[in-house]
């Protein structure tokens, strides 16, 4: 292959990768709309004192992926502290979400609103699950 062919091919691969990523975010947004939005709200702002915000939340954009995966899968029923405030509502468990679903919805919330953290891959979700 010459340089021109190489660049066409790499552009093609790049575009494929982009569209794949875009689709992941779109899927994540759809899951968010049906499962998460009612409590965490369309702007990811949550509800003061009740439902934790996701936009700008240190936990959400942080590196503890195992915790994020566990919260989505298992939910919780306790008062939690986050960035200086407390949130009292129970988080619903989502045991039926696949690893890909979790990767997609996490990628969506970590890159939406003011968040610009890394996207999450299926492999990261699987690794997080094995950590416990």
């Amino acid at each position: 292959m010459n340089i021109k062919q190489w660049s066409v091919l790499s552009l093609f691969i790049f575009c494929c990768a982009m569209s794949l990523q875009a689709q992941d975010i779109a899927k994540g947004k759809k899951i968010y709309a049906t499962r998460c939005l009612v409590c965490h709200q369309a702007d990811g702002g949550g509800v003061p004192n009740m439902n934790a915000p996701l936009d700008g939340a240190s936990n959400v954009v942080g590196n503890n992926i195992a915790r994020l995966v566990r919260i989505i899968k298992k939910g919780y029923n306790e008062k939690i502290a986050l960035d200086g405030f407390y949130y009292s509502n129970a988080m619903t468990a989502n045991p039926d979400l696949s690893d890909a679903d979790i990767a997609n919805v996490l990628s969506y919330v970590r890159t939406s609103w003011s968040n610009s953290a890394s996207k999450i891959t299926v492999a990261q979700v699987q690794a997080a699950k094995s950590k416990k």
Binding site: V38, Q41, D43, G45, G46, P53
Partner: protein, 418 residues
């Protein structure tokens, strides 16, 4: 030159004050009513109470920047703005009530009693009497609201630590527990003796049950009975999408006001009140399908309102300042909804219901709006966008109405003049 500058500053300040007075601190009110921003950024002000001298006490959900969780506010020069603001205590909570020189305040577990002196200053800020202790507070609906009945009995809301008493709270398909074990110690109103110290559950009586979470309550001196406003259940569509659409969930169930007689049951968690069918409908967690009626032994609401608006305070107006139609009527502070999403939110205003001879006498209406700070008729789409969220109400000795807010930490004073 310096004097010119000084004069200019004074003029500008006067103009700013005038503008602020003209725009009623941003509130929209009926004709003849005016509002001032009585206090601002005092902390997460939940309920407020006022003495016969007009001194206001606000209970904060969290200690404020000064580390205080009960704030005392006084308007010594009577210009409608608090000029002396102090505070004490370091525990968060919602309930506060003044009875003569006694000041009751609550944490999420306890009810405390402070003594005020002739200037309405607290005598024992560090050593209150503990009137009730050890009440259940498990995350959800943990705040304790209180009122007294004129006979020194304290009525305390103990909210249910659950949405609908499912085996697994807020989980799709999880059944409702039968009977609901929460009702033994929460999900109702408990009555205690306001004179007796260190009372626990066994010393009080369960005055009313089947109330998911009451945040607003007031003793009505016309009927000599307790009235409460309940926060209705959430998420019918989230957990039962086959029975309820998003649009239906946004309007179901009604937020409700009840007149309570000792021993009453308002039906939670087994039923909810549907504002369209005007019936008590069996909850889906208990086999309901959105149509099936239930709650034969449960009371009906005295007034009902659109869903999810969160009625956080109730006050029967007994003053003489407002026009005749307001006399003995009910003001309700709606904190504002979240569970209407993805539809726009509702509430974030103070409503009024006219009463005659202790019964509602006409439709409810919005009395004071604009707390959210959004322009025109723009709806709150996400709760964090609302600048102020009405949470507490108090009637001043001159008949003015005070509204507290736990978001921006403000208190508004609403007055009427012909």
């Amino acid at each position: 030159m310096k004097t010119v500058k000084q004069i200019l500053v004074i003029v500008l300040l006067a103009v700013a004050a005038q503008l602020q007075a003209q725009n009623n601190a941003g509130l929209k009110l009926p004709n003849g009513f005016k509002a001032t921003l009585f206090a601002d950024t005092i902390g997460s002000a939940r309920h407020i109470a006022i003495t016969q001298n007009g001194v206001i006490f606000a209970k904060l959900m969290y200690p404020n920047k000064a580390g205080k969780s009960i704030v005392r506010l006084e308007d010594a020069n009577k210009d409608g703005v608090a000029d002396k603001v102090t505070g004490w205590a370091n525990y968060g909570g919602t309930g506060i009530f003044v009875s003569g020189k006694k000041l009751f305040a609550t944490s999420d577990n306890d009810v405390y009693l402070y003594q005020l002196n002739e200037n309405d200053e607290v005598v024992n800020p560090l050593t209150p009497k503990t009137i009730v202790k050890g009440l259940i507070a498990r995350n959800q609906h943990a705040s304790k609201s209180i009122t007294l009945d004129g006979q020194n009995n304290v009525y305390v809301n103990i909210g249910a630590y659950s949405n609908a008493c499912q085996e697994k709270d807020r989980s799709p398909g999880s059944k409702g527990m039968m009977p609901c074990p929460i009702l033994d110690s929460a999900g109702g109103i408990w009555k205690f003796d306001g004179n007796k110290e260190n009372q626990v559950y066994g010393d009080g009586i369960r005055y009313a049950t089947g109330l998911r979470n009451v945040v607003g309550l007031d003793w009505n001196t016309t009927t000599n009975s307790l009235f409460v406003t309940q926060h209705g259940r959430d998420q019918l569509n989230s957990f039962y999408p086959k029975l309820y659409t998003d649009a239906q969930n946004a309007e179901l169930p009604a937020e409700t006001m009840y007149e309570i007689k000792e021993g009453d049951n308002a039906g939670w968690p087994y039923v909810y009140f549907d504002p369209y069918q005007k019936k008590k409908i069996v909850s889906p967690e208990y086999g309901g399908d959105g149509m099936k009626e239930g709650g034969e032994n449960a009371i009906n609401p005295t007034v009902f309102f659109p869903a999810h608006m969160a009625p956080n305070a109730l006050l029967f107006y007994t003053g003489n300042q407002f026009p005749e139609k307001y006399k003995n009527g009910a003001f309700i502070a709606f904190h504002g909804s979240w569970n209407r999403a993805p539809l726009p939110q509702e509430g974030y205003f103070v409503a009024f219901v006219p009463f005659k001879n202790g019964k509602p006498n006409g439709e409810w209406e919005i009395f004071a709006n604009g707390f959210s700070g959004l322009s025109g008729d723009e709806k709150v789409t996400n709760p964090r966008k609302a600048k102020a969220r009405p949470c507490g109400l108090a009637q001043g000795p001159d008949g003015s109405l005070y509204v507290s807010d736990d978001s921006r930490g403000s208190i508004f004073k609403i007055s009427y003049s012909k």
